[in-house]
Symmetry: C2
């Protein structure tokens, strides 16, 4: 009964930010722009993400069971765009950008205005994106401001 012509515009009414998901495992590191993110619980603090299942970053998340989400501000669309292609580690950088690590070892962009680190609790791999539920184990804010949102960019992800 699912009408494909109704499904897309309805799903595109959902509201998202643009973030960069990083993961690392055994000397490898990668990061990719993600939009499907929500908090899932206050106690314990859970983060839920839809992550492209066949992507390089998900492979790292799957193996390491850890992740870091770099949060961006409104003036950082260029940063988000640099991670659309999910770059791998090159000369110690990701998409030419420097990063550090927190408690999980997953890359946190030096450009990040804030970050959330998580340990994977479960991942539902039914669909083309894995629904990852992670327990938040570390968080930080470096710079306050209006967060980068998807809708004002004119782009969409979903449908």
């Amino acid at each position: 009964v699912l009408d494909e012509k109704q499904r897309k515009p309805a799903l595109r009414m959902l509201t998202y930010g643009l973030h960069v998901l990083g993961a690392a495992h055994e000397g490898e590191a990668g990061a990719a722009t993600v939009t499907w993110v929500t908090q899932g619980s206050f106690e314990p603090p859970l983060l839920v993400l839809g992550v492209k299942k066949d992507g390089y970053v998900y492979g790292l998340v799957r193996r390491s069971r850890k992740l870091a989400l770099s949060l961006l501000l409104q003036d950082q669309l260029d940063v988000a765009k640099a991670f659309f292609k999910a770059p791998r580690l090159e000369e110690g950088r990701l998409a030419g950008r420097t990063f550090g690590t927190g408690v999980t070892g997953a890359p946190i962009l030096d450009d990040a205005a804030a970050f959330l680190e998580g340990e994977v609790q479960s991942a539902d791999e039914t669909g083309d994106h894995a629904v990852v539920i992670a327990r938040i184990v570390n968080a930080g804010v470096r710079r306050e401001g209006a967060p980068l949102e998807l809708r004002p960019t004119g782009m969409s992800y979903g449908g």
Copy 2:
């Protein structure tokens, strides 16, 4: 290591809409405002929601394994506010508002600009909110426009 003073502002940088989640079971019906919603996969189309575990609506979702999400437009904050207290069915209405049903039997507000109906695939009950993964089985758009977003209201949910 999780610094509570860092965690709240970081989590509040995530971006959400305001929606009304409806569910029904054996003559009962309820609806409540929800913000923690994201798509979880394109194929199959999955919807992921964080739903207050001790709430009336989650009890209905849990028992019926079905749900409907009513999507609102920017000028419908009054509708979202009417469902903050998660009203139960009263004289055939919810918070004084009329509703219909689609294929799942879960209430869809007549006020809804669009809707998504889902069948529950799984629910992670680790936290104070259940992380519900639902397969989207029906969708509709009735009225196009700018969706109701949480941040511009000055309210927040998360942290």
